[in-house]
């Protein structure tokens, strides 16, 4: 799999890069919990110690490389997320992340599909895929509008699907409602398809995607699913440092509301964006889950030599 991925990008003249796994800043997203450690210079006193984080994704560092003018780049690396363990999660996992300078999100989706089809072809006689916007898919499977429905309407939709407890869990947080209803109500329906690309996410789930140029209700974000399992997230990358700083502030506010610690925002990323991030689209694919899809495995430990309990 790794050899085929490297050949795919070599053919397209995308440069392989490496960025630090251990860095001074962490992602600000409220639902990502980083591993934290201390860097101690030899012989240094406590005052010289520096707090470092294992990276939850190489996104910020790769964007700094893009801003420095490296052109299209890709990376295969480990990523670390604390508090995540389950049938589809191991706290240490492998990501393939790449950025294409000058690509629209649609061009990136086509390239992603071509890569995934190539990797899946030997193990699957036919590969069924489709691309759909978030809102239509959500309306079709959940029966309500993800963007405009009020909270009682979302609660009624959850109750119809058999989740009366959702009203208490999700309360008045639309992102939580959408995550809940999408993962419980929509994702299982995607399991009949080898690959599904869901585009045009609601603006309340922006992550690091650009706002849509014509429609303020949505952002230019795509999520790809294999057999109904989330495989990756892609964006037409946000390049506006002011908007990025605003999203950092939003994340911090969400963290404060949840009583979580507030990481320092990555000023080096903001400086890179201010210097100029080229127009580009990027995506990250979970390689452990892709390998599960290739091998037909149902548990992530089936594709790991040593899951965290035995690492």
């Amino acid at each position: 799999m790794l050899r085929a991925i490297r050949a795919f990008f070599a053919d397209r003249e995308v440069l392989e890069v490496e960025t630090p796994l251990l860095a001074a800043r962490s992602a600000t997203e409220p639902h990502l919990v980083p591993f934290e450690t201390l860097f101690r210079p030899a012989g240094g006193g406590a005052g010289l110690q520096q707090r470092l984080f294992l990276q939850t994704s190489p996104e910020f560092a790769m964007k700094r490389l893009l801003a420095s003018g490296l052109g299209s780049i890709y990376q295969i690396c480990k990523a670390f997320r604390n508090e995540e363990r389950g049938r589809l999660h191991n706290p240490e996992f492998t990501l393939l992340e790449w950025y294409r300078v000058g690509f629209s999100l649609n061009e990136l989706i086509r390239e992603t599909e071509s890569l995934l089809r190539g990797l899946l072809t030997p193990s699957r006689p036919t590969i069924r895929s489709f691309c759909c916007d978030y809102r239509s898919l959500f309306e079709q499977e959940v029966g309500t509008d993800p963007i405009n429905a009020d909270f009682p309407a979302l609660a009624r939709a959850a109750e119809r699907l058999g989740y009366p407890e959702a009203a208490v869990l999700c309360a008045e947080a639309r992102p939580v409602w959408l995550d809940f209803l999408f993962s419980q109500g929509v994702q299982p329906k995607l399991a009949d398809w080898d690959l599904v690309f869901v585009t045009d996410f609601p603006a309340c789930l922006p992550s690091l995607a650009r706002n849509h140029p014509d429609n303020p209700a949505i952002v230019e974000r795509v999520e790809v699913f294999i057999d109904g399992i989330e495989l990756g997230n892609g964006f037409h990358e946000l390049a506006d440092p002011v908007e990025q700083a605003r999203r950092f502030e939003e994340d911090m506010a969400a963290r404060r509301a949840l009583g979580l610690h507030e990481p320092e925002k990555d000023v080096r990323l903001l400086a890179a964006l201010a210097a100029g991030l080229p127009d580009c689209s990027g995506i990250a694919i979970g390689l452990d889950r892709l390998l599960m899809g290739i091998l037909g495995a149902s548990h992530i430990e089936d594709v790991l030599a040593f899951p965290v309990e035995r690492a």
Binding site: H31, E84, G86, H89, E165, V176, D179, Q184, E230
Partner: protein, 188 residues
């Protein structure tokens, strides 16, 4: 009892849900890459036997349930209660019809059963997987028919009715699998 967090949920753990003791069957961690983590949990209500699914936010807690499975000997029934005794402590417990439920038709005096105690009181009774019971009534077998065929109903000493082969006669002792309610063999 102590509070137990979703990350500690695993098959077999006993917790309180909506006032009833439940046993956890399955706990699936659900987390969109960029989103809120949930735990989708399947539980069996130990009072009703019903299986329910419930979603929790990761990190939510449930109260542990004081539930223990104990091997006890069935003693007798007084019509309202079925009485069991723990063989080591000689402690006795009376279980009501709700707790005994379907197990009633397999209960034979002196047999060892699994009694589920919640806060010290029986809430469920599981009979042994195999019981040996005497047939109190069945149609006489047809001459020459020694095996196979459709079988016939037989009433057992506890009142249970099972299908038995045609050659099995009233007064014989048979072995029955209580999980399926099926005849296994004759006991000599």
């Amino acid at each position: 009892m102590a509070l137990i967090s979703t990350s500690e949920f695993k098959g077999g753990l006993k917790v309180m849900l909506d006032g009833d003791p439940c046993t956890i069957l399955e706990n699936e961690f659900v987390k969109p890459g960029k989103g809120q983590a949930f735990n989708r949990v399947r539980l069996r209500n130990l009072k009703t036997g019903r299986v329910v699914e419930r979603t929790f936010k990761s990190g939510d807690t449930l109260e542990g349930a004081d539930v223990v499975d104990t091997d006890m000997q069935y003693l007798y029934s007084d019509g309202e209660q079925w009485h069991f005794m723990a063989p080591e402590t000689f402690e006795q417990h009376g279980a009501d019809a709700n707790a005994v439920s379907d197990a009633v038709k397999w209960l034979k005096e002196q047999d060892m059963c699994t009694v589920t105690l919640f806060n010290g009181s029986p809430i469920a009774v599981s009979p042994p997987n195999f019981v040996e019971l005497t047939i109190t009534e069945t149609d006489p077998g047809i001459r020459g028919d020694t095996s196979g065929g459709g079988g016939k109903p037989a009433t057992l000493e506890t009142g249970a009715v099972v299908r038995v082969p045609l050659f099995v006669q009233t007064g014989e002792v048979i072995k029955v699998d209580t999980r399926t309610g099926e005849y296994v063999s004759r006991v000599k």
